[in-house]
Amino acid sequence: MDFDFEKPLQPLRDKIDALVAKSRRGDPTAEAALAGLRKQLAKESASLYARLTPWETVQVARHPGRPTARQYAEKMCDEFVELHGDRVCADDPAILGGLARIGKTRFLLLGHQKGTTTEERIACRFGMANPDGYRKADRLMKLAEKWGLPVVTLVDTAGAYPGLEAEARGQGEAIGRSLLVMAGLKTPILSIVTGEGGSGGALGIALGDRVLMLQFAVYSVISPEGCASILWRDGAKAPEAAAALRITAKDLLRLGVVDGIVPEPEGAAHANPDRAIALVRKAILDNLADMMANAPVGDRLVEERFRKFSAMGKFDPKKAVKA
C-alpha cells in the first residue's frame, strides 16, 4: 500500500492476493473469481483517486515511483542524445537536456531529474537544480531556436536548490534570466508539469506557449509545508495550506494557468509508469503537431507568449478587495 488513503482498498487487495495464491496451488475456481475482483478493485481505486484531497494529491505527485525525466527520455523517445553543461562552470544533473525524437517529430527535451536510485537522487539533489541547471537549460533552448526545433520541458521539482554554492553562483539571477530567455525564444515551447511544480524552480523551465499538467501533478507558489509554517505557524497544517493554495491540475485549469490536463493511468502514474509515459508521449505529439502547424512564428510567437502570461492575474475592478 502506497498511501494511507488507499486503506479502504486493502481488504480487496488481500482477497486478490489470497486467490492468486490459491490459483497457483491449482485451484481452478480461483481464476474466475479473480477477474471479477480485479475489476472491482480497478473501479474502487478509480473512484478513490477521483476524490483525492489536495494534500493527498501532493503525496501522489511526490511518489518516487512516478516516471523521472530520464525515464521519459529513454522510454518515450525513439532517439535521445543527451547534451551536457552550462558552458560556464558545471553540468547540473538535476536538469536533463538533450535532442529527442519521437517518430518524425524532433525537439529539444528538458526536464528536472529527480533520479531513481539513492545514489542518483543524491547526485541530482532530488531534482532541485542549481543555477548551472538553469543556465544549461538557457543554452540548450537557444540551441533549439537556432536549429529550428521546438522545446518540450518536463517540470518536476520541489524547488530550486537552497544551497551555499547555489546562492554564490546566483540562483535568483539564473532563474530570472531563464524566464527572460524563454519569454523571448522564437521557437514553440511546450511545458508539462509531470509531478511537483515547486515555485520559481519549476517556473524556471515552465514559461511555455502551452502548459499542461498531469492529472495528479501539483503546481504551487510555495510548498504546503512552507506555507503552513509561515501563515499558520505550524507545518502540520500543510493539508489546510494545500487546500487554500489551489494547487491541483483542476484548480490551475480553472485559474487559466494551465491549458490542459494529461490523464494518468488508473491508480496514478506510479501504479503504471509505462502507461503514464505513453500518455505523455501522446500529449507531446498531439500538442507539438498542432503548435507547429498553427502557432505564429518569430516575433509574433513571442508576442503571443507575452499576451498569454500578461493575461494571468489581470486586474479586474470587480474582484478587487474593498478598502
Partner: protein, 276 residues
C-alpha cells in the same frame, strides 16, 4: 477606589516627544532629526534603514516631477484565501488603508536630474513588499509605459518574494514581469535595477537581478533562498556576510554598491549615457 490603588496607575508619558532613534544595527542613540536628515542612514555605523516607496521616490526624483499612475490597481483575492489569522482580503484592504498605496509597489513617471524616467518602487511595509497579481500588473504597466514613451525603466525592489495568499497567480507574475522586460529589451530601452533591503525569493528570481545595471544599497540582503532554509538543508553555518550586497558584488551579481545619498546622482550619471 482606595488611595493605595491610585498610586499604582502608570504615569502619563505622552508628554515627552520621541527625540531619539535607536539604530537597529549598532544600537546607537541618535537624534531623530539628524537621522532623518541623513536619509535614515545611521551616522554612527552607516546602517541603511528601510524606506517607504514614497520616501524613496522623494529621494530619487526631482521635486514636484512625479506623476503616479496605476492607482486603480488594488489587491485582488483570486483564491478566496484564508489562513490562521483570517481572510486575506481583509488583510490586504487594511494594508491599502494604512499605507496609502494601492499595492506593494508605486509606479509613475518622474525626472531624475531632468531626465524623464518610469519608476516602479516597492514598499516593504505593504505585506512584506510581496509580489502579487496587482503588484505584477503595476510593474508590467510601468514597463509598457516606458516602451510607449521611449523612456528608461528604473525598478527599486524591496520584497520578501511572491505573495502566498494569491497562490500560483503570484508565481505567474514572475513570468509576466520578465515577459514585459523582454519587450523592453527588444525596444532597446535601458533598465536600471536598484536592490534595497531586502530583495529575496521570487523577486530576486525574476526582475530584480536582470537590470542592464544592478545597483544595491550597502548591507542590503539579496538572495533567493532564506538563510535558515539553506542552513537546515546543507547542515552547515553560513558566513556572516552571506547574501549581502557586498557578497553579491564580490560574486558578480551587482555592478556597484551605492550609498543612499549618492544614489540619485549615480542614477542620473548612468542615464546620461543613453537618454541624452
Amino acid at each position: 477606589m482606595g488611595w493605595f490603588t491610585k498610586t499604582t496607575e502608570p504615569r502619563e508619558q505622552a508628554a515627552l516627544p520621541d527625540l531619539w532613534h535607536v539604530c537597529p544595527a549598532c544600537q546607537a542613540h541618535v537624534f531623530k532629526d539628524e537621522w532623518e536628515a541623513a536619509l535614515k542612514v545611521c551616522p554612527k555605523c552607516g546602517h541603511h534603514d528601510r524606506l517607504s516607496a514614497r520616501e524613496r521616490i522623494g529621494l530619487l526624483v526631482d521635486p514636484g516631477s512625479f506623476r503616479e499612475f496605476g492607482t486603480e490597481i488594488l489587491p485582488s483575492d483570486p483564491l478566496g484565501f484564508s489562513d490562521a489569522k483570517g481572510p486575506y482580503a481583509a488583510k490586504a484592504a487594511a494594508a491599502v488603508k494604512k499605507l496609502g498605496t494601492s499595492e506593494s509597489v508605486v509606479v509613475g513617471s518622474g525626472n531624475v536630474e531632468g531626465t524623464r524616467v518610469v519608476l516602479a518602487v516597492m514598499d516593504f511595509r505593504f505585506l512584506g513588499g510581496s509580489l502579487s497579481t496587482g503588484c505584477g500588473e503595476k510593474i508590467a504597466l510601468a514597463i509598457q509605459h516606458a516602451i510607449d514613451f521611449n523612456r528608461a525603466f528604473v525598478m527599486v525592489s524591496a520584497s520578501g518574494g511572491a505573495r502566498m495568499h494569491e497562490g500560483i497567480l503570484s508565481l505567474m507574475q514572475m513570468a509576466k514581469t520578465c515577459a514585459a522586460l523582454q519587450r523592453l529589451e527588444r525596444a532597446g530601452l535601458p533598465y536600471v535595477s536598484i536592490l534595497t533591503d531586502p530583495t529575496t525569493g521570487g523577486v530576486s528570481a525574476s526582475y530584480a537581478l536582470l537590470g542592464d545595471v544592478n545597483l544595491a544599497e550597502p548591507g542590503t540582503l539579496i538572495g533567493f533562498a532564506g538563510r535558515r532554509v539553506i542552513e537546515t538543508t546543507i547542515k552547515q553555518k553560513l558566513p556572516d556576510d552571506f547574501q549581502t550586497a557586498e557578497y553579491q558584488l564580490e560574486h558578480g551579481f551587482v555592478d556597484a554598491i551605492v550609498p543612499r545619498k549618492e544614489l540619485k546622482a549615480r542614477l542620473a550619471q548612468l542615464l546620461a549615457f543613453r537618454m541624452k
